[in-house]
């Protein structure tokens, strides 16, 4: 993906990232200069370091055909390719955690909530940093043991154990004396690692690695596809029983056949996955913020970016099967617009209720205008845009 990165930067995404970075930097400086007494440095620190440590990607570059050609060379594949990849992953994980800690450290030292727990001597700071780096590196090793587990229940249990150990260890390292915290972290890691040996394990989990590699490749290509034409692969469908039933509400008639197909495709596809996660995140931020300005910015960002994600539905092309049925191809555009409209309007209304509820009495004109704009964007502009793009591409 490195050859495509320059297109990402050229598209203006780099500028957007820079703008976000500058905003965050300003906020960071402001927080350092004027730290609230009750700012939850412990919770924030644990969350930051936890997520930095548990992220353990592994690019194996294995493909389905490798089962045919590489299986006899399993040991060589392990020692020659995968173990070096694991070492790199552990190293990058440790570096990533150290960078996050370096950024967080001034806040950690200054916040009244954590000032007493923060190290006093440079050597102690160094020791804490090393402990956090080792936590991240251990996570890479533990994630590899997870991948090797034969049963999916064992993998899930090991992941839960790893995350719990990482969370508690990060909390201990930030809030307790280092010696005790390090001992606890060592014990937690040992317990999880020994537990991994109890369940049956593959020497090399071919199927799991091939599936992970396909997922990683598909996600990168989908991201790069926003900026430049790259070969894309059809993403795997997610069952989503909790929401897919909504598609059954589409009337059973020829007029709505395309609507049914697009509704189900949307609800089980990549576009909906990104859309609902983004909307849920914005809803959570809104629910906790309780600030008129933050809630308004969150609402606008949610609807603007979420709406653009919805238009991805218009890019879906179906295989030959769909072209031999007695349905007019023009019906597709109508169906795409209808699904985008329904999803957009529903989320606009729902997010507005969450964001506007505490503030609408105080600023009714502002919030009602925001709602009207959101409904116009999702109910009219986006569906038209998706239908028009579909027509151009045809």
């Amino acid at each position: 993906m490195f050859p495509y990165l320059r297109y990402v930067v050229q598209s203006g995404f780099g500028l957007l990232l820079a703008a976000i970075g500058i905003t965050l930097l300003a906020g960071y400086a402001g927080l350092l200069a004027d730290m609230p007494r009750t700012w939850p440095a412990d919770v924030v620190g644990v969350a930051l370091l936890f997520f930095a440590a548990i992220y353990t990607p592994l690019r194996s570059y294995l493909q389905p055909a490798d089962i045919v050609f590489l299986l006899p060379a399993e040991s060589r594949t392990l020692t020659g390719t995968l173990i070096p990849a694991l070492r790199r992953s552990a190293l990058f994980g440790a570096i990533r955690t150290l960078v996050v800690f370096a950024i967080f450290a001034p806040l950690y030292a200054k916040a009244p909530v954590t000032a007493d727990a923060a190290p006093a001597q440079p050597a102690a700071w160094g020791a804490l940093a090393v402990a956090l780096a080792l936590l991240a590196a251990w996570n890479t090793y533990a994630a590899w043991q997870e991948r090797r587990a034969v049963a999916s229940t064992a993998r899930l249990a090991l992941r839960f154990a790893r995350w719990t150990a990482a969370l508690l260890s990060a909390a201990a390292l930030l809030t307790k004396p280092l010696a005790i915290a390090a001992g606890f972290a060592l014990l937690a890691a040992a317990v999880v690692s020994l537990s991994a040996r109890l369940a049956p394990r593959h020497k090399l989990p071919w199927d799991r690695l091939i599936a992970e590699e396909a997922g990683a490749r598909q996600r990168w290509l989908a991201f790069l596809g926003w900026f430049v034409d790259v070969p894309t692969e059809a993403p795997a469908a997610a069952s989503r029983a909790w929401i897919a039933w909504i598609g059954d509400w589409v009337p059973r008639s020829r007029r709505f056949a395309w609507h049914f197909l697009y509704a189900k495709t949307f609800l089980r596809g990549e576009a909906f996955g990104a859309f609902w996660r983004w909307s849920a995140l914005m809803a959570i931020v809104s629910a906790f913020a309780r600030s008129n300005a933050v809630d308004m910015i969150t609402y606008v960002a949610a609807i603007a970016i979420g709406g653009l994600q919805l238009t991805e539905l218009g890019r879906i092309r179906f295989a030959e099967h769909a072209s031999v049925v007695p349905l007019s191809p023009d019906g597709r555009r109508t169906a795409v617009s209808a699904v985008i409209r329904a999803a957009g309007l529903a989320v606009s209304a729902l997010l507005w209720l969450i964001a506007a509820w505490p503030h609408v009495k105080a600023s009714p004109a502002l919030w009602l205008s925001a709602l009207a704009a959101a409904l116009l964007w999702t109910g009219w502009l986006l569906p038209r845009r998706a239908a028009a793009r579909d027509e151009e591409e045809e």
Partner: protein
């Protein structure tokens, strides 16, 4: 009742300068099963694509139930159901949802469709998999889903490309039974397959395609007779081999190169 399928001197292919099919003519009557056989590259898939309207003829005509695609594309498409060689399912629809979509696309009656869906799920032993997404199905099961969709429609013309590939023995029997029921109900079936014994047992007539031309056509016995292979022990496989080898010999004598 109109002829289910008519190919009248169909010439066509991917390039106007090098057509794949050369004046191919045959027809299929309602209730008849026609086997389309030929070597790889003979033009079977190209012929099927022309029938489906995915390719347009360079010359000649294709009519389904008496209709040309250009005259009434919706009625034309409503008159065909197609099962490709490679199962081609929508990744985001379950088995049951595929059948529901087919019901909507073809404007089928919901109650009748539900009854047929139940019967097809029973016939193809797919009742337990109705809620499954295609990614969780084996290739044979995906093939069964394609067949169920086509049989649900029960149109004037059923086109099936390599139906027996990937099916277990019970599913093969179920398919033959379902095809016979479709024929009894008046559907015509165009079946392309390399499994010649199955065609010999079940097809009413056979068309042998070679290098885009029809080498022989008729009942299995007539095809064997044309090939000079009409002995009691002679099979359609033997007849097919003889026809192809004779054609290649004739082409060599005339200075052309054999294909396949």
């Amino acid at each position: 009742m109109a002829t289910a399928l008519t190919l009248d001197k169909l010439t066509g292919g991917y390039s106007a300068r090098k057509p794949v099919l050369h004046e191919v003519s045959f027809d299929i009557q309602p209730g008849e099963m026609m086997g389309l056989i030929g070597l790889n590259g003979a033009g079977k898939s190209t012929a099927i694509k022309h029938v489906l309207g995915l390719m347009l003829p360079q010359s000649g005509e294709v009519r389904v139930a008496g209709i040309r695609l250009a005259d009434d594309s919706e009625r034309y498409r409503s008159s065909c159901a197609y099962v490709p060689e490679q199962p081609s399912l929508f990744p985001n629809l379950t088995v049951a949802e595929h059948l529901r979509w087919t019901e909507s696309a073809y404007g089928l009656d919901a109650a009748e469709s539900a009854r047929r869906t139940e019967a097809l799920a029973e016939t193809f032993r797919m009742k337990h998999a109705m809620g499954a997404l295609p990614a969780t199905l084996s290739k044979g099961m995906r093939q069964k889903v394609m067949l169920m969709n086509a049989l649900l429609v029960a149109p004037p013309l059923l086109i099936i490309d390599e139906p027996f590939l990937g099916l277990d023995p019970l599913a093969t029997r179920a398919l033959v039974q379902a095809l016979n029921e479709a024929r009894a109900a008046g559907s015509a079936i165009l079946l392309s397959s390399h499994i010649l014994p199955a065609l010999e047992r079940n097809a009413d007539r056979i068309v042998v395609l070679h290098q885009g031309r029809i080498l022989a056509g008729g009942t299995p016995e007539e095809v064997k007779k044309t090939a000079g292979a009409s002995g009691a022990d002679c099979t359609l496989d033997d007849a097919f081999e003889r026809l192809i080898l004779s054609a290649d010999e004739a082409a060599s004598r005339e200075g052309g190169a054999p294909l396949g």
